[in-house]
Symmetry: C2
Subunit: 237 residues, 2 copies
DNA sequence: TGTACATCAGTGAACGCGCGTTCACTGATGTAC
DNA sequence: TGTACATCAGTGAACGCGCGTTCACTGATGTAC
């Protein structure tokens, strides 16, 4: 096993060029029209050459999806890492998620928009998809959130069994410092972050929130604050 | 102006057959692959015949979108109408929205999923899209919601200017009985309803909430309760 | 260090397919007198 | 009540296009001895 030879390096470079081109294509066409031939055209290769790198269109889609989850998570992690304090970090995770989505709306739509019809996501996407949620769990842990929510009861806890059973896989918690109700609210908070970003990107804020970036951001920050207060993270603002 | 003649009735029937077939097609293919030829095939007509009813593929898409908004709103209105009490009605609006979405996931995705690339929604969709939000405003009004939210301030109010300016168009309020903060939370609540339904339909509840309809519904009702408490609608449960 | 061979990247033609839209046309349904 | 004409619904061929994938092939890059 020596370092990667010239061929391996070329291979990696072309692989990257293929996914880049495909990601660029999504800006104008939507995932279900992603075209192998168009990628080849952009790279100046024969369409058949793509099949040396990717065994089918669906596999290319999977690469893009996994790539988007990981890229978003990495960008959010990088900004969250250096933040001190649970509430500040919560805020940054929300804002960084939104920033990434605004920069790359087509990749956000790829992972959080309508599923591609006829495409079944393989297992590979699960890990990358849970990286940001894992950060949020870290916040619940750090802030020792003990929520007291009248709407929460044993039935709700039971409905969340799959997640509660796998909690330690997502984040390594020697002893869990937040209660089930806090987790239930946490799932809601994450749902809301993605839901709000989707509303904004997909045009449902039109005629509601002002069109300027500053109005949009103001309202989103308001939502983050309401959620943080609801969770009981840090002092109210 | 007599009653509609035989031709007009046929026309309406075929029009309906076209949109029905198109809606059915969306179950398997996604809006951007919606095919005029496939519709014609299913109805046993020449593909060119469709153009007697619809001037282009995009116009057909618009018909489907407007139809979906109206159908969803009608179904929610019907169930909300006969509910007494703000909190009960809030709950029913949420549940009815979700039920409709689960019954017709492709139509939900059409209006709340990723936008169709290259398709620009015309004005016709605005009215139908605000029917359910109008119901929610009615609830704020009926419950005289005066929210006191520490995260709310004048900047947030300003970001919501477009909506606040048009409030009386959406619901006829002689004197408004809720404050701006309540409205800000109301926008959040509606965002959350749609966000949560999207999460469920698009597969993001997998490994989090149990897969059974009962677990899914339990968690969704929990969310509705948390939001109602947050808004201060009715007594806590 | 040189040679023989295996692996790999890339080509270009071909397969069979579906698409939106236009156009000149045929018959049937309606309308005006 | 009957006739002449206009409108309308529907046809089928054609236009020009793009797609995913396979296949036999050519050269270049690597590897083993």
């Amino acid at each position: 096993m020596s370092e990667p030879g010239i061929r391996a390096r070329n291979r990696a470079a072309i692989m990257a060029a293929i996914t880049d081109s495909a990601n660029r294509q999504l800006l104008e066409a939507g995932p279900s029209e992603l075209s192998v031939r168009a990628v080849a055209r952009e790279l100046g290769m024969a369409s058949s050459a793509i099949y040396r790198y990717v065994s089918s269109r669906d596999e290319l889609l999977t690469l893009l999806i996994v790539g988007a989850f990981n890229d978003m998570a990495q960008s959010v992690e990088a900004r969250a890492e250096r933040m001190k304090g649970a509430r500040k970090r919560w805020q940054v995770i929300g804002l960084a998620s939104r920033d990434w989505a605004i920069e790359q709306p087509q990749r956000f739509a790829l992972i959080y928009g309508s599923p591609v019809p006829g495409y079944a996501a393989p297992q590979d996407t699960i890990g990358p998809a849970t990286r940001i949620p894992a950060l949020l769990i870290g916040i619940l842990q750090e802030a020792h959130v003990q929520a007291d929510v009248s709407a929460f009861d044993a039935r709700v806890a039971r409905s969340l069994r799959p997640a509660l059973a796998n909690l330690d896989q997502w984040a390594d918690l020697r002893t869990r410092e937040f209660n089930d109700a806090a987790f239930a609210l946490g799932v809601m908070a994450w749902t809301h972050i993605i839901g709000s970003i989707s509303f904004e990107l997909f045009g449902h804020r039109h005629n509601v929130v002002g069109d300027s970036q500053s109005d949009r951001r103001t309202y989103f920050e308001f939502e983050l604050n309401v959620l943080a207060d609801l969770l009981g993270i840090g002092q109210g603002v």
